[in-house]
Amino acid sequence: MADDAKKKEIYEKLRNGVIQYDEDACKEGAQEAIDAGLDANEAIFDGLVSGMEEVGRLFEAQEYFVPEILMCADALYAGLDILKPHCKQMDLGVKGSVVIGTVEGDVHDIGKNLVKMMFDVAGFNVYDLGRDVPLDKFVEEQLKTDSELVCLSAMMTTSMVGMPKVIEKIKEKNPNCMIMIGGAPTSKELADKWGADGYAEDASNALKEAIKMVAFLKKLRDEKLKK
């Protein structure tokens, strides 16, 4: 077993690899973690995801923009690909599955993919329906997978009008399902008006929300470990 200093060094490498969007460093760090016999889940959360949290902060501070975020995410994935096969089934106490997609008539999927990625990392089961998704498909998929959460994304005023229809149909069939909407033209007011449970201002805020969600999950996990 590696000593604490070594462990810290490896996590730091993973963290910095993500922040500096250095795929090679992430791959190296991930391999080192495995060779040193470290816990893969821990390496993901305390290394890679902790880096992504910092990236979220840099994004909020407008030091990073969308291209950097995507490159950081690519670096995170590079490490994740190596660590994932070594993961114990993640038991976060809040097992969740989520249906996600961009609504009919809209092909903007960058923001949606960022959110999806964060859910992936957090160990959620993600059913990604892609972009330009027919409205009824969301309802069908939710029923089929019995997911707790549905995320709807729209980037155009012309496509977002489909959202209330989806929300109404899902709530009718399954009132307990949580629905989060996001994308540039949507707003907290619209989310409330349409009966959605959550809202993120745009791709960037959806990312922040997702990061917060992951941070929250991490806290839950830490508390659980303490017990």
Partner: protein
């Protein structure tokens, strides 16, 4: 304002035929709006077999030069449509090389839908580095210089060229029925020929003039 002359010199020394700096702020989608300068880089396809590798190398040199000054950059690779699998590749299709080329004054869009440079014709491959470095920009080209010539339109084997005149006042005007060009391409592939037709490149008088010149240079 940052003087771009040293960057241009560097890239030309490394094999670029043309380098220009364009103000591309009017052509940027939200995700990359802060990167309002485009460094347009072209290499002569007639002289370089592996123009894609060369362009990627030039992009890396430009990135390093810009990073050294403390600014951001994003390279759109020459073969942007073939890059997949990573998240960052999704941004590539938000920008097209022709835009940087016209904005930096290196060419107009010919009736063949391609960038025509008055010296090299369209025998050029392009790559772009987007940046937020306040590089001194070159003057954009505003109008087509095809004149009455219609050679490419007449000879395109798939009838893909519409024959309109491009101008910066209507930059997004569609000049090409891409589906026709694409269909021809896949047909030829089936017969195991070289898939790229490229007649619209070779027939253009500007390209022919350039080819003659570079043949002379080789000898």
């Amino acid at each position: 304002m940052v003087d771009a002359a040293p960057l241009k010199q560097l890239l030309k020394k490394e094999g670029a035929a043309l380098v220009g700096i364009g103000d591309i702020s009017k052509a940027l989608p939200r995700e990359i709006r802060h990167l309002n300068r485009g460094v347009a880089i072209a290499v002569n396809r007639g002289l370089n077999k592996d123009s894609i590798d060369l362009l990627c190398g030039l992009q890396r040199s430009a990135e390093d030069w810009i990073r050294e000054l403390g600014f951001k950059n994003l390279s759109i690779p020459p073969d942007s449509d073939r890059r997949t699998g990573k998240l960052i590749t999704r941004l590539y299709k938000l920008f097209c090389h022709k835009t940087a080329a016209t904005c930096s004054g290196l060419g107009w869009i010919g009736k063949n839908g391609l960038i025509i440079n008055s010296r090299y014709g369209s025998q050029l491959s392009w790559a772009t580095v987007l940046t937020d470095a306040p590089l001194k920009t070159d003057k954009a080209i505003t109008d087509s210089e095809c004149g009455d010539c219609e050679l490419c339109v007449k000879h395109c084997p798939s009838g893909a060229l519409k024959g309109g005149k491009w101008s910066l006042s209507d930059p997004l005007k569609q000049m090409v029925y891409y589906d026709r060009c694409k269909a021809l391409k896949s047909n030829r592939q089936r017969f195991d020929e070289k898939p790229n037709c490229g007649l619209c490149v070779t027939i253009c008088p500007y390209s022919r003039k350039s080819r003659k010149k570079s043949m002379k240079e080789k000898i």
